[in-house]
């Protein structure tokens, strides 16, 4: 089992290396010069060249990737200029290992940016996850158990409608009516647990959490319903009934256990994806999380931040994959880790 985890982690690291290379390569394949964004207006061609050099975009992307990779292990200085180190050491920012780079656009190491934004995204994800798992699975099971009834049709219909609505639309609706028009809750603003306590933190997360949860929940209702119905037609559920087990036992012990296994898998991966996938929700509610950072970094061509985010989010997905597989082995005795 440990050997298995080690092997999976090793494969994950290789994947990360490949992804970072691809990100660099794609970035430099673009016809856009990042210096355009930093140089300001009235920027002469000479200045632009200078800026490009200062941003480190003069080197080939291979060299730059090499510097990046080295920085991960030994840290880096920004700018890495021996002259400047002599004359004005105070202007050099040190980025300790593991250094994911330094964003000139944001005047911060990527590690610090992640430190600032990750808790926000994590908070939204946790709250959303709670709503969508509890809501999605419960309603999905309800719909399956009342298959064909008005309850079932209602739930399936509503979830289909919600699923079809774009997230930003749901977010804007909630924002506009619940927060602004009716004033049921304050206009959501991210508050840390330190600043606002659990209740302050949670009240700020309610609307973004629900916004994000709605989309997933709608999917999970339908998915859970389908899996539960499928499991009801399994032979072993028929066996359980043939044994004379009460309906409750048949449903919850035999049918649901099997039905929920794929949902656990999906939920694990969705949660990991959510860390960087809450872009729209974070934008609508102006939450300074990873998704918002990704949008900003993308819009001003901030390569270090983009690479850092790609690596981070890929890491989440890789780790979530491993955890889900381990979990699977725990749930399903047939699964062997190898």
């Amino acid at each position: 089992m440990i050997a298995y985890v080690v092997r999976r982690l090793f494969a994950g690291v290789i994947l990360l290396v490949v992804m970072s290379i691809v990100t660099f390569a794609l970035f430099f394949a673009s016809p856009i010069n990042p210096a355009d964004f930093s140089c300001g207006k009235n920027c002469s061609a000479e200045q632009k060249e200078q800026v490009s050099r200062a941003l480190g975009f003069e080197d080939s992307w291979v060299t730059q990737w090499g510097k990046f990779a080295k920085g991960v292990f030994v840290g880096r200085d920004f700018p890495d200029d021996p002259e400047l180190r002599k004359t004005a050491p105070e202007t050099i920012a040190h980025c300790p290992a593991p250094c994911l780079g330094y964003s000139r656009e944001r005047t911060s190491t990527v590690t610090d940016l992640i430190k600032d934004t990750l808790p926000v995204s994590l908070s939204i994800a946790v709250v959303a996850f709670f709503f969508w798992i509890v809501g999605g699975v419960l309603l999905g099971v309800t719909a399956a158990l009342r298959r064909g009834t008005i309850v079932d049709r209602g739930l399936v219909g509503i979830s289909l409608v919600l699923y079809a609505f774009p997230t930003f639309f749901i977010g804007l609706l909630l924002y506009k009516f619940v927060a602004v028009q009716w004033g049921w809750v304050d206009v959501p603003r991210y508050t840390t647990i330190e600043d606002g306590g659990i209740s302050g933190w949670l009240s700020g997360l309610l609307l973004p959490g629900i916004t994000l949860a709605v989309f997933f929940m709608a999917g999970y209702v339908r998915m859970t319903r389908a899996y539960v119905l499928e499991s009801f037609s399994e032979d072993y559920v028929r066996t359980a009934r043939a044994k004379g087990l009460p309906k409750r036992t048949v449903t919850f012990k035999h049918a649901l256990r099997a039905a929920l296994t794929p949902i656990v898998t999906m939920a694990g991966l969705d949660f990991a994806g959510l860390m960087g996938g809450a872009i729209i929700t974070e934008s609508v509610f102006n939450y300074p999380g990873l998704g918002k950072l990704a949008v900003l970094a993308n819009s001003d061509f901030d390569l270090p931040t983009l690479v850092g985010l790609v690596i981070l989010l890929a890491t989440f997905v890789i780790i979530a994959n491993i955890i889900v597989d381990l979990l699977y082995a725990v749930i399903d005795p047939r699964v062997r880790l190898s």
């Binding site: 856009i32 300001g40 000479e46 400047l84 202007t91 920012a93 872009i279 609508v284 061509f301």
Partner: protein, 582 residues
């Protein structure tokens, strides 16, 4: 990772914002949309909110700022300059610098080649240290560190300050970090006690305007300078200082700076106890709250404009609504490198065919735009309607255009490609409106909307478009910050880029000399006449075709007092005088 927005999506909007540098003045009151204001008593206290909007502040470093919003707000709250504009909406008073950290508005005895200012003795930084002449000198020197101090209007000092250029086309002085060429700078800028002297290589008659509008001549503390790391560090000398840190995408809170002495400051009233800057909200989110006047938004002001979708709700909130003309002009440019538009007759036909009224209608109507008749904004002193455009109806003159097109040497029908910054329904509708008017005159227009790559494409001298789009606003109230940056081929056109001269216009010796003469004229009124001549020449050549001037539509909270959209801050909310009810 799901990145849904395309890179550079912000750039279309940035096209305007890029030209957000200071401007104002000259607004001779012909717009009846006089800035509104609540006339509450000027009571101190409370917390005012500034909605910074979805476009993050990129720099709080005075030498790196170049966005009008940030230049204005910092100047009103925490960065004082040699001179500043008084809080006034009078077109002359509001754009005439008065002493701020200096004791006078600067003296020059040689028509602008040498400028001298004396710094007050009684002004302090937020940590209690006196502001010295050396601080100003150091601040100016930072502009030359082009590898660290990136993004600001450094090129003005490159152009004027008496420091020779090296082979790379940049000044031989490389800034205070590398200290390369330090002696050159030490000669150009000198301190004598509290008196600072700037020596230019050519006259700079409106330098005080530059000092008042931009922040690049502001003082800076060498002992606190950490270069790029100070990008969001604010070393205040004004009435407010940053409480804690600035968080990009979230904002920050400004509290009173105890070391600011009200008696030294004729401009800043500093009424609220706190200013909370809130960053990252989309326009719709801001205006949802503003229209509902809910919660904090009652104390809110913003530089974001009311989105057109909210226009029909304006009557509900008339007392909190203000409308002002912006300092920008949008225009289209014929490409002088194109086989069609190298011919003047073809350009004239395009000029006559252009239906700016349709363009405005497609873009949101008269609430959003007003027609323009020059590339110069009417608020800039010396503005005149360009005679080449003044007499053409806003709807264009299709018959005259058709007749003119007969003279055009290009094969008929005249096929042209219009490359513009697209990607939004509005921009596409506007482009379609232009196409319709051009096609009615006999052109055959191909629309070429570009998103991410717009600037990269049109700045290429060999790009194959025939017409493109541009927008501009003056850096300070002078035509010298409009026409040369856009049409002086000597500073724009290089082998690899056309700079801001997207139409690849080449004025030749005649125009170059006219520009030089206008620059050299020390008398600002006389200079304005010369600039008008340059503009007229550009009109004759059809170097550009003006479209419209953006109109700002703003709303502020009900508990905001003394609200004013002053020309001294380009028509934005003047944070120097705004207060809130307690």
């Amino acid at each position: 990772m799901a990145i849904t927005k395309k890179p550079f999506a912000a750039l279309a909007a940035a096209a305007l914002a890029v030209s957000l540098a200071a401007c104002g003045g000259g607004d001779d009151g012909d717009d009846n949309n006089s800035p509104g204001g609540s006339d509450g008593a000027a009571a101190k206290g409370g917390t005012a909110i500034f909605f910074n909007g979805p476009r993050n502040t990129e720099h709080w470093d005075p030498q790196r700022m170049y966005i009008g919003r940030d230049l204005n707000n910092s100047g009103r709250l925490f960065y004082r300059s040699l001179v500043a504009y008084p809080a006034s909406n009078d077109p002359t008073e509001g754009t005439t610098p008065i002493p701020d950290l200096a004791t006078d508005t600067g003296t020059t005895e040689d028509g602008g080649k040498t400028w001298t200012f004396t710094i007050r003795d009684d002004v302090k930084w937020e940590d209690g240290k006196n502001i010295t002449c050396e601080d100003f000198k150091y601040g100016a020197s930072r502009n030359f560190a082009t590898d660290v101090i990136i993004g600001g209007p450094a090129n003005y000092l490159f152009t004027y300050l008496d420091i020779p250029n090296g082979d790379d086309g940049l000044p031989q002085y490389k800034g205070p970090y590398s200290k390369e060429g330090q002696e050159l700078f030490d000669k150009a800028v000198t301190c004598d006690g509290q008196t600072i002297t700037y020596r230019m290589k050519k006259p700079w008659p409106d330098m005080p305007q530059a000092a008042a509008s931009l922040r690049f001549l502001d003082p800076y503390r060498q002992d606190l300078d950490k270069g790029d790391a100070n990008n969001f560090v604010i070393i205040s000398n004004g009435p407010y200082k940053l409480d804690g840190e600035w968080t990009e995408g979230t904002g920050g809170t400004f509290v009173r700076n105890e070391n600011w002495d009200e008696s030294t400051d004729p401009i800043r009233k500093a009424l609220p106890d706190q200013w909370e800057f809130r960053e990252g909200d989309e326009d719709e989110a801001i205006y949802d709250q503003m229209f509902a006047d809910s919660g904090d938004a009652q104390f809110g002001v913003t530089e974001r404009r009311i989105p057109p979708t909210f226009y029909d709700r304006i009557p509900e909130v008339e007392d909190r609504y203000t409308q002002v003309e912006s300092p920008y002009v949008d225009y289209v440019l014929p490409n002088f490198n194109s086989p069609v538009f190298k011919d003047l007759a073809c350009r004239e036909a395009l000029k006559l065919a252009t239906n700016k009224a349709a363009w405005i209608q497609a873009g949101g109507g008269e609430k959003a735009f007003t027609p323009a008749y020059s590339v110069v904004n009417p608020s800039v002193p010396g503005y005149r309607e360009n005679p080449a455009f003044a007499d053409i109806p806003d709807e264009g003159d299709p018959d005259a255009a058709k007749a003119k097109l007969e003279e055009c040497s290009a094969p008929k029908p005249v096929k042209i490609k219009f490359t513009y910054s697209g990607g939004t329904p509005t921009s596409d509708n506007q482009a379609a409106a232009l196409k319709e008017s051009w096609d009615a005159a006999g052109f055959e227009t191909e629309l070429d909307p570009l998103e991410d790559t717009y600037y990269s494409v049109i700045q290429k001298p060999d790009a194959d478009f025939d017409v493109t789009w541009g927008g501009w606003g003056a850096d300070w109230p002078s035509i010298g910050t409009v026409i040369p940056p856009l049409f002086d081929s000597r500073i724009n056109l290089t082998g690899s880029s056309n700079g801001n001269d997207y139409g690849n216009y080449r004025g030749g010796p005649e125009v170059d000399k006219m520009i030089d003469d206008a620059y050299a004229e020390a008398d600002l009124d006389a200079a304005a006449d010369l600039w008008a001549e340059v503009d007229a020449k550009l009109g004759e050549d059809v170097a550009y075709i003006p479209l419209e001037i953006t109109i700002f539509n703003f709303l502020h909270g009900s508990k905001v007092t003394g609200y004013a959209n002053n020309v001294s801050v380009n028509g934005y909310a003047d944070l120097a005088v705004i207060g809130v009810e307690n």
